[in-house]
Symmetry: C2
Subunit: 253 residues, 2 copies
Amino acid sequence: MRNIKLVLQYDGTNFCGYELQPGKRSVRGEIEKALHKLFKIKTRIIGVSRTDSGVHAIAQVVNFKTTNQIPTKRIPAALNSCLKDDIRILGAEEKGKEFNSRYAAKSKEYEYLIFNGAIIPPSVRRVAWHIKYKLDLAAMKEAAKILVGKHDFSSFCASRSDDKNFVKRIYKLSIKKRKLAVFSGEKIDLVSVRVKGDGFLYKMVRNMVGTLMEVGLGNKITSDIKNILYGRNRRLAGRTAPSHGLCLIKVHY
Amino acid sequence: MRNIKLVLQYDGTNFCGYELQPGKRSVRGEIEKALHKLFKIKTRIIGVSRTDSGVHAIAQVVNFKTTNQIPTKRIPAALNSCLKDDIRILGAEEKGKEFNSRYAAKSKEYEYLIFNGAIIPPSVRRVAWHIKYKLDLAAMKEAAKILVGKHDFSSFCASRSDDKNFVKRIYKLSIKKRKLAVFSGEKIDLVSVRVKGDGFLYKMVRNMVGTLMEVGLGNKITSDIKNILYGRNRRLAGRTAPSHGLCLIKVHY
């Protein structure tokens, strides 16, 4: 039995998310369909991040087992020919039989983009949250420091979660301005929230971003973030940031 | 009668183009509908570039006449509230009564993006032409020089055009590599073709890019470009590059 690791990208806009959902178009469903077409037998994949509907990925990692003898380097092109252009397999690698994309991951990195201004350019509408009122980035950076480290993140976990261990370690949580240029003439100022951690609870990044946004808008202050974190109660945190601003950007093994 | 100039952006993917077409969603149609909603009377707009279906714009310019007394600075937000998010009015300005967005333009600039590699990232699939075989950029740059200057561009004009004057002046035609970063972790290498001219025939930029691409692929050489240009016959030129790689980036008045 061969164990194949794939790295893939997708624009999350037209997916119900990573996980299978009856009657809906999921990332996992599309890849498993492509594998079925290629190998003629049902093949199950394991993904490192079960991204929600609308969430993007530039480096999702999955693995699957197969007895098929197709050369590894031919797998990306073969699968891509069976997939729509909003999802692309970038690379394939044969791993040892013990490799599991989810459990082998040491840490994951996400980026959340915010457009902070009056009129959001159409070119970033699918990748950035539009916040019209001016954000206090210094206050957000200060508040973000509270969340770095090993904590019980219950307050940032969505209620329908099946998570059991709420203690996670956040290695890095940076907030900075960056420019995005889709076309030459267009330099768009965005706010980028990057977070790296050893694991994430259901909707944790979006709940963290939504809460930090409240700080940026002056509705909450740094000590509120402490109370929210230590209160270990989802009802204490701010709103959930919308999914389309989020992207899985790296998985470290 | 007030004469208002608007600058606007759009993602061309879901438009039939700038011009009205029966039963289809056009840029002009959407803006005229929004103006009708706002002013309660039919208002006609004049646009500087009649972009085709799929072509994007980050600085399309239109103007319209109205007796309505809404403050100019309130116009963008008022119109945007009536428009879908793939089109945004960025600014409005009151001009003298003689101003005509089309005839007052001194020059226009377009950018055409190409992704030159095996697997195109989903994030650029709507803004870049995917060319798998390696392009010879040096040969393309050399050939591009032939097209700069004042010429009869009949060979690059699509046949169903109603253009009458085929002589246009190309001020600049540059071909260079550039990086595009949609998400932090993702730096995508693209080829950018930028062209600035005092006017363009129907599908002229796309025909120029399609022909230069043939040079990049080794199917044509620089002397062929001379023969095409001087032959003044559309059948001589290469294919028409697809619309989604093209963007109107600047209009000079």
